[in-house]
Symmetry: none
DNA sequence: GATGAATGAGCTTTCATTCAT
DNA sequence: AATGAATGAAAGCTCATTCAT
């Protein structure tokens, strides 16, 4: 991989860099999400962040750079939060279910940012797009590992794990992308429950089904008895 | 519905309007898809269409208008092509399967335009977005009707038809949105086949399963024996 | 003088030229007066006149030409109407008074066009402006002749006839230019009456005063007994 | 009054705003006066002012705004200079005469700008026009007060003060509007002298006449012995 | 003679980026 | 490090004028 993943800053103090970037990206995420990348000016981001325009160029090379890091930020939230949900869980199917639920909840907490990631990736130069795609693939891989292990363990019947994971992920993203259609018919718990019913339950073996039953009873999957 | 669906032209001859708009939209679709809406200038669209800049403004009110009609064009292709695939078919499950296959193939033939529709709807003013959403919902409804009828006829087991249709549609769209990941692992037929296996087959009753078997043998669903 | 006063037409039939030009100028006067020269498009003039854009260019060389003839039209109305008011009148002071009254009434009937003449002359090329100025001077000369003859005849005391005529003319024009301030305080008759009191009466000799008295009684000057 | 009189600037430092606006308006007044508002481009104003195009938009909202402030500037010059001429003068007729002379001299020093104000007010939106008119009325009021006080004091015979003031003001403006006709026949002092003779002297009482005689001798009114 | 679609130069306005302070 | 005024290229859009029909 090239250095497309790196963003240079003119400022040397690493702590300050961290802090300022967070401040700028927070503002950028808000505005990009609301108005889109092209309708948002750097001046507006600076104002929202409470700093001067010029300062942004001390921490980012150009406007594309701000978008790039904004998107990376969203993807990193996924990569950070999902493993947390799996921590200490050994059963691969339980991991899968927990990861799926966690994913849905992260999307719900980053609704606008998730939409932004979908709409704006293509606004980046090709090498930057590749970095984003790689990150996305990495997140998918987390789920795929759980699913593959579940199949291996006989909890899930043979299935195209790759595409099923795509469907699971799509289902999570749809909560953000189609909010206008979904949020007036379901609340988040119902939505998650339905996702499990449509995209996981049909593929479970008997053993798998009993694991899911347990998770329902434990309240891991909402909407169970 | 408001008049947000109408686009005025200064030119009176309806035949000419039809022709010129098609010419301009073809160029716009190509460029918007490739470079995005904001990176594409009206000058570039005019050049691609082989006409002068000013002429575009005789057929469209402004640049947003060009985008709007470009997107409507894509959605109309869906609304036009899918019913064709159902023509003369009476079995509701067969209709569903054929509609799904047709949808995938339309997406494949409009790859870039489909991506454009996903990315750029949010660039429109709110009332225009609503028109787009309504069109999208109408297309989904075509599928949902088939699925509901299949359930009624005992071909499909009870399931949340609304969300399952969303998943089917998403699966079709993903072929365009995630081309970078999918096209190097599957060809279109394999992809369709997998979609049927993941999103239709698990929900079939015995009778439904036999219908699907027939459709596989007839080659309606690719990848059957 | 150059040929700045001439406007060429591509059409040969003189009667048709006359007719079409009148049609176009009527539309132009209306729109130029309402919206100003630069805010009025040739397309709009054509539409208002009920003809095609191209046709205007068969009767006028360019847009400036349309303005020029529009202004000439207004000035010609002055040159045509004022002499009419003097017809058959021999007393020079009576001529002056009648001319002044007539001028005010013409301005009142051409309110918008008069404003246009004031605002837009400067939009013309220099040689065209000279033609307009010459016409304006010619109209003033009509009044100046009356005033000079009145002085000669001992009806008016010695005064700078040139500047007094300017004031008389200005007074007439002000009715159009300052309509917003004047029309809510005076009606046209009061206004004319006041003009006579301020700009004519103070300069009359005894004999002159008796002439004016007669004109008041005869109702030539409004607001008299 | 609405906020139509306000013009926003993006720049915060008030001193700089003052300075830059003056710089821009100076250039704009020059060019608008010479070529008219519509024939003058913002690019040209920027070049004349020695700055970049973009900078103009940091100090004015749009081109109309530049025109508006240009016109306000002219009117403010009147409102500022005329009272100066009256400072320390108690006799109301002397005030009137001095104000009239001052007005003529201001017009002479702002020849082109005065013409601009006449031609271009109508190019503004209605609410802006109202602001201009109100300013103009305010200036007239200065003169009207003097004239009314003179009448009260028995220096001037009964007369329609409102319309006589209009004539006085028109006389001043005519020096700019009809320069082409007037400047080759009179110099400014002669013109002022004639104005006094035509528009003030005829209306004076005996006492008033002696005041004017004094002002002539003192050289306040030019052209006296 | 008449039409009106087509042209394209030229305008206003925006905004990413720079740089003197 | 931080500011924010200044830049100027580039974009959308208009409209006087032309010309094939």
């Amino acid at each position: 991989m090239s250095d497309a993943g790196q963003v240079e800053s003119l400022v040397t103090d690493p702590k300050l860099v961290e802090e300022r970037r967070a401040q700028i990206l927070k503002a950028a995420t808000k505005l990009f999400s609301k108005q889109g990348f092209y309708r948002t000016t750097i001046q507006a981001v600076a104002k929202e962040a409470g700093i001067s325009t010029g300062l942004i160029y001390q921490y980012f090379h150009d406007k594309d750079d701000v978008l790039f890091l904004t998107l990376i930020n969203v993807l990193e939230a996924y990569e950070r939060e999902i493993p947390k949900a799996l921590d200490g869980i050994s059963d691969p199917l339980e991991q899968l279910v927990r990861a799926f639920c966690a994913y849905c909840r992260i999307v719900d907490s980053l609704l606008d940012a998730t939409v932004l990631a979908y709409r704006s990736t293509k606004s980046l130069p090709a090498d930057r797009q590749d970095v984003i795609k790689a990150r996305e693939t990495a997140t998918n891989q987390l789920l795929e590992n759980c699913l593959a292990a579940s199949a291996q363990a006989g909890l899930v019947r043979p299935v195209n794990t790759h595409l099923l994971v795509y469907q699971l992920v799509n289902f999570c993203h749809a909560w953000a992308l189609k909010q206008w259609a979904l949020r007036r018919r379901y609340d988040l718990d119902e939505y998650i429950n339905q996702g499990v019913q449509i995209l996981i339950e049909p593929f479970l073996s008997k053993t798998g089904a009993s694991v899911l039953e347990r998770l329902r009873n434990e309240g891991v999957v909402p909407g169970g008895r």
